[in-house]
């Protein structure tokens, strides 16, 4: 079989399929990593916002932001494993 024919055969539907899923996996992991960065920015932003007006009842928001970051880290690790 000529090399060109071998190359065409390697581009079968199943290998193309798996290539697509690998691409999606990479994009998904990049997406979850960006989300992780966003979760960290939210914590910083809540801190900055709360410094403008002191005395507001904000501990639930801070707690929520930290839980959010924790969940984002967990899901990023989960994506590395599950995908």
């Amino acid at each position: 079989m000529a090399p060109f024919d071998q190359f065409i055969q390697s581009l079968s539907l199943s290998s193309f399929d798996s290539l697509v899923w690998v691409l999606i996996k990479i994009l998904a992991i990049i997406g979850f990593a960006l989300y992780l960065a966003f979760a960290a920015i939210v914590i910083r932003q809540v801190k900055i916002m709360s410094e403008v007006v002191e005395g507001l009842f904000i501990w639930p928001l801070r707690l929520m932001a930290w839980i959010h970051l924790g969940v984002a880290v967990f899901i990023f690790l989960l994506a590395l494993i599950a995908l």
């Binding site: 899923w21 999606i24 996996k25 998904a28 997406g31 979850f32 989300y35 966003f38 920015i41 939210v42 932003q45 809540v46 900055i48 916002m49 709360s50 410094e51 403008v52 007006v53 002191e54 005395g55 507001l56 009842f57 904000i58 639930p60 928001l61 929520m64 932001a65 959010h68 969940v71 984002a72 899901i75 989960l78 994506a79 599950a82 995908l83």
Partner: protein, 217 residues
């Protein structure tokens, strides 16, 4: 012989007015509206401080957009929560590997949470503050931007309030526009509760500023 038509001797209770603009200053009542987690209107909130507040400066009004303005994004969040249920009911995702389906679902709910949380903190921290010396408008247009505008009370030239539409009239919230003589031509308090009272308080503070500083208002 007892009188039949004698009214009750119980003194009639007078409901305190929110107004601080009455002509008789001795009758002026400043109500203390406690500042709760979801408060959108607080008069004389003693527990809060503005970052640039002077030592002798006092916060008179603390305002946020009316809580009803959050209804839109709350409904949107519920719709986003329901989307996967409908999607999995009407479409087949058998061609998608199980791991991708699972992570896709988690990703969807993460984004939904991020949307709701971002909208909530945006509502929570976008505040308007009126002190006895200045007016401050704290805006966070998005999570990465901070925009604080303030003007001295003596720079205020004109104050107007606007309440339009069924919901706004029913719930008594609207916009307060403050024209200033400073570098900032106008300050807008959007969708704040009791806009007429807000305008009245600012007018009173401006006209009787010395009285206010001496605590007689």
């Amino acid at each position: 012989m007892p009188d039949i038509f004698v009214g009750s001797s119980k003194p009639k209770e007078t409901k305190p007015s929110l107004s601080v603009g009455s002509k008789d200053k001795s009758q002026k009542i400043i109500l203390k509206h406690p500042l709760g987690f979801f408060s959108a209107f607080a008069l004389n909130p003693h527990q809060i401080r503005y970052e640039a507040q002077d030592a002798n400066e006092k916060i008179v009004l603390f305002l946020r957009r009316h809580f009803f303005t959050n209804v839109g994004w709350i409904l949107m969040t519920f719709c986003l929560i329901l989307v996967p249920f409908f999607a999995f009911s009407f479409f087949s995702f058998d061609f998608v590997p199980m791991g991708f389906r699972f992570m896709g679902l988690i990703g969807w709910y993460l984004l939904t949470f991020a949307f709701a949380f971002e909208r909530f903190i945006s509502w929570f921290f976008n505040v308007n503050i009126v002190t006895d010396q200045r007016i401050v408008d704290v805006n966070f247009p998005s999570i990465l931007y901070k925009d604080i505008s303030e003007t001295k009370l003596e720079n205020v030239q004109d104050i107007s309030s606007k309440t339009g539409g069924f919901i706004r009239s029913f719930l008594n919230y609207g916009d307060v526009m403050i024209q200033t003589a400073g570098a900032l031509p106008e300050l807008n308090f959007e969708a704040v509760p009791h806009p007429d009272k807000v305008a009245e308080v600012i007018n009173d503070l401006q006209s009787g500023r010395e009285d206010y500083q001496h605590g007689s208002l």
